[in-house]
Symmetry: C2
């Protein structure tokens, strides 16, 4: 990997260095996805069946995972794998349960009571991609907060394998995390089926989960339609930024960079370090470690647009990181915690040598569905919140109403909204 020196770069070069890989804006694919969504909306299960045959090469008479398939899935996993799934579910549950909001009741004025009440979204749809790797961890990260929020209908779609079955680890993880309805449907057809409902698949109010460009485009389409479904957050390629000082382990850093790079060819990994020596060692270690990886070809593509950057000091590194707003930020510096108050824009932060990104990806307890592509400037990662809605309530006593009445009428007058004032006046008159 090339090593750049930040202080020797001009503004244009700096911007180019932090440029994320451009997302393809494929209008032909967008039209195809729109057609798939429209057809599933219109023809329901028949269209889903057709697209499943076409895209997944699977012929499914029944989309739903049967109790038999679910039982068989358990037998295909080792006890250690099941124990690991359970540990992940436990930790993610612990952290997400702590996020549950409490109801608020506030007297804003004597006799004027305002409340905020949280409700789970009634029906949610979870999407777990298969693609280059089946992702039981994604099933956990989506299903656990949905269960803790209390969403009544929780369904999950995941693409079938060519033999018509679903990945057993995804089935087991989803089941154990409280999702009993699993449909073997993938891609844009899964998103459309959940957004509009079919004879088999219940309609949901909000769709969560990662996916490829087909899934992402379909999610945008249904989110823009009031008759469709809301979505969790905008998608983008995964990314990590590591800040390291001279005390860091080059081997650990290289391993963390590679664990991000193996996600996909469009992943981006960045190292900002105050040490030229660390930069050189990381470069060498990446090359060495890469040789042992089964997904080296994917990682190599991601590394092609990734950067090792030497910076003057850690203040500068933090400043660059805040401007970049990484999905994952690893602080491999002495007393990493002391830098935390300076971090403003990041999805999830990993402090110190013993918090590799893969811990958060799987089972520390934090959610791994995080804002990428700079969206951390305005979006949060997934939490219980996104499975809830807040409803406000107001109730006034007669005295409370009388006390606020003049202000309401004044403000209505300022806006020229007579009927708003009249609704107050007619009540005041009734009291005379």
């Amino acid at each position: 990997m090339d090593i750049l020196n930040w202080s020797s770069l001009d503004t244009v070069a700096r911007t180019a260095t932090l440029q994320r890989p451009a997302l393809s804006n494929d209008s032909e694919k967008a039209a195809t996805v729109a057609a798939i969504v429209a057809k599933v909306r219109e023809a329901g299960d028949a269209a889903v069946r057709e697209f499943t045959a076409e895209f997944d090469g699977a012929s499914c008479s029944e989309f739903q995972v049967s109790p038999e398939e679910a039982n068989a899935a358990v037998t295909q996993l080792s006890p250690d794998a099941i124990a690991a799934i359970d540990l992940a579910i436990r930790n993610v549950s612990t952290f997400h349960t702590a996020q549950l909001p409490t109801a608020l009741t506030v007297q804003t004025m004597p006799g004027v009571q305002c409340e905020r009440i949280s409700h789970a979204i009634d029906a949610v749809g979870l999407y777990v991609p298969a693609g280059t790797a089946p992702l039981p961890s994604a099933a956990i990260m989506l299903a656990v907060p949905a269960r803790i929020a209390g969403c009544e209908t929780r369904i999950l779609c995941t693409p079938p394998r060519p033999d018509g079955t679903a990945d057993p680890a995804v089935i087991v993880a989803a089941n154990r995390a409280g999702v009993k309805e699993i449909y073997k449907i993938g891609g844009a057809q899964a998103i459309a089926a959940m957004a509009y409902g079919t004879a088999t698949v219940p309609k949901v109010n909000k769709i969560f989960g990662p996916g490829n460009s087909w899934v992402t485009m379909a999610k945008s389409i249904v989110a823009a339609d009031a008759a469709g479904a809301a979505i969790d957050m905008p998608a983008g390629p995964s990314e990590v930024l590591v800040i390291a000082d001279a005390h860091a382990s080059a081997e650990f850093i290289a391993a963390d960079l590679l664990s991000q790079a193996e996600h996909g060819a469009d992943s981006q990994v960045l190292l900002l370090t105050t040490s030229q020596k660390i930069a050189s060692r990381v470069s060498a270690a990446v090359t060495a470690q890469l040789k042992t990886l089964s997904r080296a070809a994917i990682a190599r593509k991601a590394l092609a647009h990734s950067r090792l950057i030497v910076v003057e000091d850690l203040e500068c590194a933090v400043q660059i990181s805040n401007a970049y707003a990484p999905e994952h930020l690893i602080l491999q510096v002495e007393d990493g915690r002391s830098w935390l108050p300076s971090i403003r824009n990041a999805g999830s932060v990993f402090i110190g040598p013993w918090a590799p990104e893969s811990v958060g990806d799987y089972c520390s307890g934090t959610n791994h569905v995080l804002p990428t592509n700079g969206f951390a400037r305005a979006y949060s990662g997934l939490g219980v919140d996104q499975f809830l809605r807040h409803m406000t309530v107001q109730e006034l006593t007669v005295d409370g109403f009388v006390g606020i009445a003049d202000a309401v009428m004044e403000l209505a007058d300022l806006e020229g909204l007579d009927a708003h004032a009249a609704a107050v006046k007619i009540r005041l008159e009734s009291l005379q």
Copy 2:
């Protein structure tokens, strides 16, 4: 207004009755809006100046409201109007301050610490429309939570009047609610200026506020662009649903329906009542009260697609309301609070005879930016939350890491992600 009897309607008729007015899907207008956004992004202030002359008929040499204009605005308001603005700011501040989340720290396992930290979004843009009425209340509802969240850059755009000034009440409300930077820019050009920044207008990370179809379309465009800005929520016409029993006041109900109907021709108002007599009286009262209103022409158009519906019992009314998911729900029934636990989908609820919708629109303390068009099924109204982001953090002790290491490697194996396992393995080996 026509009175319908719910039990005599078949399923098709019921669906038609609750149908919201269709939103126009004007592809020609969409292209125009896209062109405006693109031009402002490219040409900045010059483009804003051109569109301001074209659409607002105003020639602005300076977009920003000057201290002189702000001082002059104060003198144009009565002391009572200023007191009403201050009361609204106080109540909205009280309720929104109570919403501030506390930081979370959770040990999910011994030595595995997960945290959630909330940060204000650095820069937010607030849009306050002028249109048929200037809306100082919108300035309050947007500016107060932005200030309480702690957003460092808070700017507000509002259309200029033909003489180049902004509405004085909007200026005063914004200033007193903590927004000092006000730009006299309206429509799609305002949204583009805030999303991309110009020489004059700072770029923001998220844009909030209501607007007409031009504003709404521009918000969708910039939200879909990673280089643009996030937005608060999807827009739709305002609406109210009133549930009333025989004890309710027909006069109060009529006044509440009209205060919603005067918002715009596309507003929708619904009454669900168990009493045929109340339905008839409301119909008569609406006709009578309508005569006195300055915005009767607008209200009449809204009433044309609004409904008075007689239902068998309150359970049925609540069921219909939950399916409709109104922006505003007024419970004019005996012991309204006892029905609150049954209400699932609504933006804001108004309980009892002394909580007209206009109280919440202006100054009870709740936010009046609420999900319309059925979006209450998946979205919350505006609160401090939407001006914040949650960032998660994890830090592990050596022992914590060792305790979780096997589970991480198991899960990585299940997903075939070698590098994820290797990042753990290399650390374990370093301990030997």
